[in-house]
C-alpha cells in the first residue's frame, strides 16, 4: 500500500536547487551495490546507477538500459538489446561488454556479493556474454523467473567498466567520486564518511526507464544525502527544514512531525516483513544438549498463538501499522495469499493446550512451564537494529508469553557474531532472531529462508517438499500458477511456523511541501530524477 504523494507532482518543474535527504545509516564501506546487501546502499545510490530493466510496484517489467529482451522457451536464455546512446559519468560508453564486466564483477569471488549474486539465481546463473556490440545474452542452468526483477534493482546497477577495472574491491566498497561511477541522473561528487554523500546532476542524462515521468536530465542541481543515525535527529532535521526529505521514520516519528507539515509517502516493501526467525535446531553442533525448544512444532505454534500481535503492534508503533499475517508482504507481486489472514489470531487457551500436549505441564515458582527440570525458555538474539519501538514490541510479546508460561529473554548484544558462527561454521546459538528481507520477488525472500540450502535459512528448515515447491515456482512463467505455489508455502509456514511475521516493513519518506515530482520504487525508495523544489 502506498499513500500520500503521487509520483507526478503538481505545477511546472523548476530547474535548480540542491535537495537534502536524511537517511539513518552511514554508508561506510557500503558503496558497492554489487557487494552490499543493505537497504541504505540502494536508497543512496538509486539515482547513481541505472539498471537494465525497471519494475513497477505491481511487478510489470519495463525497459531501461535494455530497450528490449527475449526469453527462450525453456527460460534458460535471456537476450537483451541494449541502448546505444548511454554514457557513464566518466564518459565511457555503455555497451554489452560493459554489462558483461558488471556481471563478471558481481560473481567474482573477491566481490563477496552478499545479495545480488544470489538474487540473480546464484549457481543457476551460468554466465553473461556479449553477443553483439549492444546485445547481451544471459544464460541460466535452470529456469529462474525472478531474474528480471533482480536485474531491476540497484544492486544490479551498471558500473562504468573503467571504474570497475581501475579500483580494488576495497576502494569500490569505500566508494567516492571517480569510484562510484554509474550512468544515472546524478553522479557522486563527494563523500564525507559518516556525514554525507553529495550527488550532482548528470546534465547529459537522457535514458530513464519509461516508468519515469521525466525524460531528460534531472531538474535538481544536486542531492545531498545526510546520515543522521538518530531518529530524533532526522525528525528534527525535517522539522527545522535542515533537510527537505527524510526516510527511515517510524509511525510515531511521523505523528511527531505531523502529517500536515509534510508530504508523507508510506510504502510497504515487498518481501519478508520484519519477522521472528525461529530456530528449529538449536545446538545443531552440540546434539548432546538436545534440540532447542522449537524443535517441537507445538511449541512453535504455541508461540505463534500466544502473542497478541494486534495489541503489541498497536502499542509499539501507534495506529499507523497493520499487523502482518503472512511471511510475504501484501505488496509482493504475484505471491501474497490473503487466505492466511486471521488464521493465527491471538489464542492463549489453544497455545496453553498445545504446550500441555507437548509435555510442558509443570510450572515453577515464577509461573513458567517446566519439563524435565528445564524451564521453557527462549533466547531472542537481537539482530542489527534495536530501535526502541521494536524493543517495546518485543517487551509486549514477553509479557504475552509469560501469561502462557514461556520465558522469553531478549538479548541486545553486540557480540552476536559469536553466536552465529565459530570457525566459519554456522552455529545459530539462539532460539529466535529477527530481521526483514525486502525483495521484489517472492522467491528472493522465500528461497533464502526456507530452502534447505538457503543462505538465510536460519530456521534450519530442511523440507524436500518446500524445496520442490520453490523450484516449481521459479520454473513457471505463469503468474497465477506461481501465486498458487507461493500460497501453499505461506500456509505451510502458518502450520509449521518457521518464521513469525511481526510487523510490516514500511518505508516512510517525508518531504517538505516544496518538494515535487519525487517518484518511488517498489520499496518506497525515492527517485529524484524527476524531482524539483518549488520556490514557494
Amino acid at each position: 500500500t502506498s499513500t500520500g504523494a503521487d509520483g507526478a507532482g503538481s505545477g511546472e518543474p523548476v530547474d535548480g536547487g540542491t535537495l537534502s535527504f536524511a537517511i539513518a545509516s552511514d554508508l561506510e564501506g557500503l558503496l558497492d551495490p554489487h557487494s552490499s546487501q543493505f537497504d541504505a546502499t540502494s536508497t543512496a545510490l538509486r539515482n547513481v546507477f541505472d539498471s537494465l530493466v525497471a519494475v513497477t510496484p505491481d511487478g510489470e517489467v519495463h525497459p531501461w538500459l535494455a530497450s528490449s529482451w527475449t526469453i527462450s522457451e525453456d527460460g534458460l536464455e535471456y537476450v537483451f538489446q541494449l541502448r546505444d546512446d548511454v554514457t557513464f559519468h566518466d564518459g565511457e560508453p555503455f555497451d554489452a561488454a560493459a554489462a558483461v564486466a558488471n556481471f563478471d564483477h558481481i560473481f567474482a569471488p573477491e566481490t563477496a556479493s552478499a545479495k545480488i549474486a544470489s538474487d540473480l539465481g546464484g549457481d543457476r546463473f551460468a554466465g553473461a556474454e556479449a553477443t553483439g556490440d549492444h546485445e547481451l545474452t544471459i544464460r541460466l542452468s535452470e529456469p529462474f523467473a525472478p531474474l528480471l526483477s533482480a536485474l531491476s534493482t540497484t544492486y544490479a546497477g551498471m558500473y562504468s567498466p573503467a571504474a570497475l577495472a581501475g579500483h580494488s574491491q576495497d576502494e569500490l566498497r569505500a566508494g567516492g567520486a571517480g569510484i562510484t561511477v554509474g550512468s544515472g541522473p546524478f553522479s557522486v561528487a563527494d563523500l564525507l564518511v559518516g556525514q554525507e554523500l553529495a550527488l550532482t546532476k548528470n546534465p547529459d542524462y537522457a535514458w530513464p526507464s519509461d516508468i519515469s515521468a521525466n525524460p531528460g536530465a534531472a531538474h535538481l542541481d544536486g542531492v545531498t544525502i545526510r546520515f543522521i543515525p538518530e531518529e530524533a535527529g532526522r525528525v528534527g532535521a525535517v522539522q527545522s527544514g535542515e533537510t527537505l526529505v527524510a526516510t527511515d521514520l517510524t509511525p510515531k516519528a511521523l505523528e511527531q512531525i505531523g502529517r500536515d507539515a509534510v508530504t508523507t509517502q508510506l510504502t510497504t516493501a515487498p518481501g519478508l516483513p520484519w519477522s521472528a526467525i525461529l530456530n528449529w535446531d538449536r545446538n545443531a553442533l552440540h546434539p548432546e544438549s538436545g534440540p532447542g525448544v522449537f524443535a517441537d512444532v507445538r511449541v512453535r505454534q504455541a508461540f505463534q498463538l500466544g502473542i497478541d500481535l494486534d495489541a503489541a503492534v498497536q502499542a509499539a508503533f501507534g495506529g499507523g501499522l497493520e499487523r502482518p499475517w503472512s511471511i510475504l508482504s501484501p505488496t509482493t507481486p504475484n505471491a501474497y495469499d490473503p487466505a492466511v489472514e486471521g488464521t493465527w489470531a491471538h489464542d492463549p487457551a489453544r497455545a496453553e493446550a498445545l504446550l500441555d500436549e507437548a509435555g510442558w505441564t509443570e510450572r515453577d515458582a515464577e509461573g513458567y512451564r517446566v519439563k524435565d527440570g528445564q524451564r521453557l525458555h527462549i533466547d531472542w538474539l537481537k539482530w542489527i537494529d534495536g530501535n526502541e519501538d521494536k524493543v517495546a514490541l518485543v517487551n509486549f510479546l514477553i509479557e504475552d508469553l509469560k501469561q502462557i508460561g514461556i520465558e522469553l529473554v531478549y538479548e541486545e548484544t553486540d557480540a552476536y557474531a559469536d553466536r552465529w558462527r565459530v570457525d566459519g561454521v554456522n552455529v545459530y546459538d539462539w532460539d529466535i532472531t529477527d530481521w526483514s528481507f525486502s525483495s521484489i520477488s517472492a522467491d528472493g525472500a522465500l528461497r533464502s529462508h526456507l530452502s534447505t540450502e538457503g543462505f538465510q535459512n536460519a530456521s534450519r528448515v530442511a523440507d524436500p517438499e518446500i524445496d520442490r515447491l520453490l523450484d516449481e515456482a521459479v520454473a513457471t512463467t505463469d503468474p497465477a500458477e506461481q501465486a498458487a505455489i507461493y500460497a501453499k508455502i505461506q500456509e505451510w509456514n502458518v502450520q509449521n511456523v518457521a518464521i513469525v511475521p511481526l510487523f510490516p516493513l514500511q518505508t516512510a519518506v517525508v518531504m517538505a511541501p516544496s518538494v515535487q515530482g519525487v517518484q518511488f520504487d517498489s520499496f518506497g525508495r525515492p527517485d529524484f530524477q524527476g524531482a524539483w523544489i518549488t520556490s514557494a
Binding site: 573477491e110 566498497r173 532535521a237 527545522s240 543462505f455
Partner: protein, 332 residues
C-alpha cells in the same frame, strides 16, 4: 640560562613522548588481539554465501595469518613510514579516514575548550564573594555532575527541536558546532571555574597578595596583576589532563548530534575490531596527549618561572596533585 631549560624540557618531552606512544600502541594492540572474533567476519559478514577461500584470501591480504610478533612489529614500524594500513570496515586507508574525521573533532574539542575556559574565567571573576558565589558554587557543582550526553540531549531537545534556533545535526559550520561544544563545555566549565576560584582564594591568602594590597592595589588590580596568573598557572595542568576526558566526551556528543568525528570512528572501530583504525586512533590520541602536555608544560613554564627548575617542577607537581581532583578532571 633560559635556553637551557627549554632544551632540557625538549629532551624530556621527546623521550617521554616516544615512551608514551610506544606504550599506547602496544596496549592497544594487545587489547585488540584479545578480542574474540575474526575481523574477517566483520568485513565479509557472517553470511554463509561467502566461500571460505575468499575469507582466507582476505586474511592473508590483511596480514592476519602472520605470527603475532610480526603483526606487532608491523603495527609499530609501519606508522613510521606513514602507512597506517586500511580500515577493515570502511575499506579505506586509515589515514584518509582519520584525516576526514580528525578535523571536525579537533574543532569541536577546541571550541568546547575555549568555551569552557571563557565561561570559567567569567564565572570565577564575577562571583568572587557573597550570594553570587554561593549560587555559582551550586550551579557549578550541578554542571560538573551532569553527564555530557544528558546535557547534549537536553540542549538538542530545547535549542534544536523545540526552539529551532540551531541545527540538529553535525557538520562543520559554526552554527552546527555550537550545541555540541556547549554540551561538552558545561561540565568542564564548572570544574574549571571551581579550580580557578579555589586558586584565586589561595593566591589571595598568600603573603604576596597582602603585600600587594598594602601597596594600595585594589581588588580588581590584585585579580588582574597577581591572583589571575596564579590560578591560571594551576589550571593549566588540569586543562591538559582534561583533554582525555574531552576526547572521551566527544564519543557521546558526536553520537547524540550525529556529528562526523573521531569519537564515532573510534567507537565503531572498537566495536568492529577494526584494528588498524583503533591503533591509529590510539596513536593519535597519545600524540595529542604528548603534544598538549608539552605545550601546557611550556606555557606553564612561561607563566611560572619557578617551574623552570627541577625542584620547582617537583614541588608544583606535588602541589597540583594535592589540590587538583584528578578524577573529576578525567571525567569532566
Amino acid at each position: 640560562m633560559r635556553d637551557v631549560w627549554v632544551v632540557r624540557a625538549l629532551g624530556r618531552w621527546i623521550s617521554q613522548g616516544a615512551l608514551v606512544m610506544w606504550g599506547a600502541v602496544t596496549l592497544a594492540f594487545l587489547l585488540l588481539k584479545a578480542v574474540p572474533g575474526d575481523p574477517v567476519d566483520t568485513i565479509l559478514g557472517t553470511s554463509a554465501s561467502v566461500p571460505a577461500e575468499t575469507r582466507q584470501a582476505l586474511r592473508t591480504d590483511l596480514g592476519l595469518d602472520l605470527p603475532l610478533w610480526q603483526q606487532y612489529l608491523a603495527a609499530l614500524v609501519r606508522p613510521l613510514t606513514g602507512d597506517f594500513g586500511v580500515s577493515y570496515r570502511a575499506r579505506r586507508p586509515v589515514l584518509d579516514l582519520l584525516a576526514s574525521h580528525a578535523l571536525p573533532t579537533l574543532w569541536l574539542t577546541l571550541a568546547a575548550l575555549a568555551l569552557a575556559l571563557g565561561l570559567a574565567y567569567l564565572l570565577a571573576a564575577v562571583t568572587r564573594r557573597g550570594v553570587s558565589r554561593r549560587v555559582a558554587d551550586v550551579v557549578e557543582l550541578v554542571a560538573i555532575s551532569s553527564p555530557t550526553f544528558w546535557i547534549a540531549l537536553a540542549l538538542a531537545q530545547w535549542f534544536a527541536y523545540r526552539l529551532k534556533w540551531l541545527p540538529v545535526t553535525g557538520g562543520n559550520e559554526a552554527t552546527r558546532l555550537i550545541l555540541p561544544a556547549i554540551a561538552l563545555a558545561i561540565p568542564m566549565a564548572g570544574y574549571f571555574a571551581q579550580l580557578l576560584r579555589d586558586g584565586l582564594d589561595r593566591a589571595e591568602r598568600e603573603p604576596f597578595a597582602e603585600t600587594a594590597r598594602a601597596r594600595g592595589l585594589s581588588r580588581g588590580g590584585l585579580f588582574a596583576r597577581h591572583t589571575l596568573r596564579h590560578s591560571s598557572a594551576s589550571l593549566l595542568t588540569v586543562v591538559a589532563f582534561s583533554l582525555g576526558g574531552l576526547l572521551g566526551g566527544t564519543v557521546l556528543v558526536e553520537n547524540v548530534f550525529a556529528r562526523q568525528g573521531l569519537g564515532r570512528v573510534t567507537l565503531d572501530a572498537i566495536i568492529n575490531r577494526d584494528l588498524p583504525v583503533v591503533l591509529a586512533v590510539t596513536m593519535l590520541s597519545a600524540l595529542v596527549f604528548v603534544v598538549v602536555n608539552a605545550l601546557v608544560d611550556l606555557i606553564a613554564m612561561f607563566v611560572d618561572p619557578r617551574l623552570r627548575t627541577i625542584e620547582g617542577r617537583r614541588r608544583s607537581v606535588r602541589e597540583a596533585a594535592e589540590t587538583v581532583d584528578p578524577v573529576r578532571t578525567a571525567a569532566a
